[in-house]
């Protein structure tokens, strides 16, 4: 009797467990399929966009009328950007695929810049045509490779989950057809990028790694770096300072300092350029107590600090309070002309007004030439170029870095349109609107 009951109970238990296991298995599969489908969509989408990209570049080449060239180039830009976003959704980050991504980004940038240009006034140059032809050829190569991979994926039911697994475990990734395919694409693009086919029109687009062009002087030693830190941070001398030199990957050599105050147990971190010993940035991670000084007072202290350390012609451009920290941005102002690329940021603790952060990266790497150019337009002429509904409330001259990475002299107009505040830069020579920025610095709290 007992035996029968026991058998009954146990078999029920087994059946229950089996059912539970089956359900779990099903759920797991559903989740896996879902993830796999996401990858598949991104992949097939990518191949489709590349097909389209190739065709579109072809049509721009065949086009003669400038009126239709701009929209066609804008289309190329859009497709390249979609393809770029598709690549970002595939599990390829462990696979070197950056050249292809860069290539897509570059096509986007090239087509954008040519599309927004007034092609009636400034038609495509021969070099730009050559670049377009080269892009067309290369897009054809990528298309071929990807079509091939796509065919194999569809034929053999290949799964992206396996790619992810193979890449993650480093388990002979050479065997995976998808990985091989993408590696081939990458190799192709790489050799293309290296060849001169891209033309000089393309080179200028890469963001120049400028380095700290304003940091001039003799290379300093580690001891000198310590000395500079002591005077810059007004240290007592009891602190432990650890200095390490930068590695090979740095654009420009610098020293990193970790300064530990044995009393307060708080760390100050600082980087100093090797050339000339300029402080690049400072962060003091000490906890900050209750606010006792105002933002205005903090701004004054920041200004004092800059003067003390021989930074000339700087004025406060922006200030904001985050809890008990003041964030200040200073820019150079030379004879009433603001030079925005030369910015210094500073954090001032509102408990005792000490500087807890400093960043001169932009200031040191700005390459604005002196003397500054003279404007050919008057402020009144420039003002006529802005939207007539825009209410100008402040104006001045300013130097900014525009979309093309050039430093241009502009008239800056600050004002309102409706309820919002905008900053509009009009080129002081051509009258072109170089940049329009909506200034939004306050956001409602949602909690």
């Amino acid at each position: 009797m007992i035996r029968n009951v026991l058998i009954g109970v146990l078999s029920l238990g087994i059946a229950g467990t089996a059912y539970w296991g089956y359900r779990e298995h099903q759920e797991k599969n559903a989740v896996l399929i879902h993830a796999e489908n996401n990858y598949q969509r991104a992949f097939h989408d990518l191949t489709y966009q590349i097909d389209l990209l190739h065709d579109k570049i072809g049509t721009t080449l065949a086009m003669n009328s400038r009126a239709s060239l701009s929209p066609a180039l804008a289309e190329v830009w859009r497709i390249a950007s979609e393809a770029h976003s598709d690549v970002g959704q595939l599990p390829l980050s462990l696979l070197p695929f950056n050249k292809t991504q860069e290539f897509l980004a570059k096509i986007g940038e090239f087509s954008y810049r040519t599309a927004v240009r007034d092609l009636e006034k400034e038609p495509l140059t021969k070099e730009e045509y050559r670049t377009l032809q080269a892009l067309y050829k290369n897009a054809a190569n990528i298309q071929q490779e990807l079509r091939n991979v796509q065919h194999l994926v569809l034929k053999n039911n290949l799964r992206w989950m396996d790619v992810e697994l193979a890449l993650a475990t480093n388990d002979r990734p050479g065997d995976n057809i998808i990985i091989d395919g993408f590696k081939a694409v990458e190799k192709n693009v790489d050799s293309f990028s290296k060849s001169a086919e891209f033309g000089p029109a393309f080179v200028g687009f890469e963001k120049k790694e400028k380095g700290f062009v304003r940091a001039i002087g003799k290379p300093i030693s580690k001891t000198e770096a310590k000395r500079i830190a002591r005077s810059f941070l007004d240290l007592k001398g009891t602190e432990n300072i650890k200095v390490t030199a930068s590695g090979k990957g740095a654009d420009e050599r610098f020293y990193s300092l970790t300064i530990r105050d044995p009393k307060t147990k708080s760390d100050i971190y600082m980087d100093i350029t090797e050339k000339g010993g300029y402080p690049i940035w400072v962060i003091n991670s000490r906890p900050i107590k209750k606010q006792t000084i105002s933002l205005h007072e903090a701004a004054n202290r920041g200004m004092q600090f800059l003067r003390k350390h021989k930074f000339k012609n700087l004025e406060l451009y922006d200030s904001a309070q985050y809890d008990n920290i003041a964030l200040l941005t200073f820019v150079t102002n030379e004879n009433g002309i603001r030079i925005y690329p030369e910015a210094i940021k500073m954090k001032v603790a509102l408990d005792d007004g000490t500087i807890v952060g400093f960043s001169a990266r932009d200031y040191l790497s700005s390459s604005v030439q002196r003397p500054l150019p003279k404007p050919t337009l008057t402020a009144e002429q420039a003002k006529k170029k802005v939207n007539p509904n825009f209410k100008v409330l402040e104006q001045r001259q300013a130097v900014i870095t525009n979309d093309m990475n050039e430093q241009v002299l502009c008239y800056e107009f600050l004002g309102t349109l409706g309820e919002d505040t905008y900053q509009i830069f009009v080129n002081a020579n051509t009258g072109m609107e170089e940049n329009v920025e909506k200034l939004q610095s306050v956001e409602q709290n949602y909690s």
């Binding site: 940035w281 105002s294 205005h296 919002d420």
Partner: protein, 313 residues
């Protein structure tokens, strides 16, 4: 200065009352017989002494603690970007006289800035957008501030206005979704770096906390800086979410640690990175040398090591 003047006025008023009281006393005393007069006068003098003591005490009490409508602004100079009670008062007062039509949220943004400049222009003050002594004095004179009303609305999360000439009860528009009840009666908005929302910062803080919560502060800033450097880099997606959720890019995303609740340190680190501090010198990759399995990552040009992570190009 303003406060002390008003207090003086109050004391004067009390002095006048005292004078009246004496006068009445004297009038009464005149009608009494000499005897009674002496007695009464003695008593009244006693009373008078007591009363004057009481009045003096009251006067002192009032002088020491000014009444609510007298209280105005702390003595700080308020400038754009400031946050707090003074800004709430500034916005409420500017709204009272119709210069400010935005929300009273306690953050000195651009709209408040233009309102201040307009006010300074209209009232013949130097137009600099800074709220100092003279601007505050003029503003206090020209407007009213119903502090209790404003603070209560903020605490309840109501949307409201504070215009002069309209009864306050008609200026409450109730709580329409947006603002949640704000128990601390603090500001209802925050400063945010240009181009980033508080939610973007939160998402990045999640990623930083998941990736580097055991690292020193600077290591957390560095991880946030790498996310931002990737945004700019052509090899990576162009949005914060795109970079963070790129498959395989961050282990914390892959194993779900990104969904831990980040602490304040992580948020501060993200804010520092967004505001322009990049301890990595432009790195777009980092790895932990103890756990990194990929040979490829070791071949990247290394910039520096921060905490446990090596940052590279």
């Amino acid at each position: 200065m303003k406060e002390s003047l008003q207090q003086k006025a109050k004391c004067n008023k009390l002095g006048f009352l005292l004078f009246l009281y004496k006068k009445v006393n004297w009038k009464e005393n005149r009608d009494k017989t000499t005897e009674a007069m002496r007695e009464v006068s003695h008593m009244s003098r006693k009373m008078q002494r007591n009363l004057s003591l009481i009045v003096m005490a009251a006067c002192l009490a009032i002088c020491g603690k000014p009444a609510e409508e007298v209280k105005a602004f702390s003595n700080q100079v308020i400038q754009r970007g400031a946050v707090g009670d003074d800004v709430i008062e500034l916005q409420a007062r500017l709204q009272y006289i119709g210069f400010y039509n935005g929300k009273i949220d306690g953050v000195f943004g651009w709209r408040t800035y233009w309102a201040v400049r307009n006010f300074q222009y209209e009232y013949g003050l130097p137009v600099d957008g800074l709220v100092g002594e003279s601007t505050k004095a003029k503003l206090v004179k020209a407007s009213k501030y119903h502090e209790r009303f404003v603070k209560e609305q903020i605490r309840k999360g109501n949307s409201f206005t504070h215009y002069g000439g309209t009864p306050l009860s008609q200026q409450v528009k109730g709580n329409k979704g947006g603002g949640a009840a704000n128990r601390a009666a603090r500001t209802t908005a925050s400063n945010v770096p240009r181009g980033f929302s508080q939610n973007d910062i939160q998402l990045m803080a999640n990623a930083v906390y998941g990736e580097a919560r055991g690292e020193p502060y600077i290591g957390q800033v560095a991880v946030a800086a790498v996310i931002l450097n990737r945004l700019e880099h052509p090899s990576f997606p162009d949005t914060i979410a795109g970079v963070i959720f790129q498959p395989g890019a961050f282990t914390a995303v892959a194993d779900g640690q990104i969904w831990l609740t980040p602490n304040e340190t992580a948020k501060k680190a993200v804010l520092d990175a967004i505001n322009g501090w990049d301890p990595t010198g432009g790195a777009i990759y980092y790895f932990n040398p103890e756990t990194a399995t990929s040979a490829w990552i070791w071949n990247r040009p290394q910039i520096k090591q921060i905490g446990k992570h090596i940052f590279c190009k």
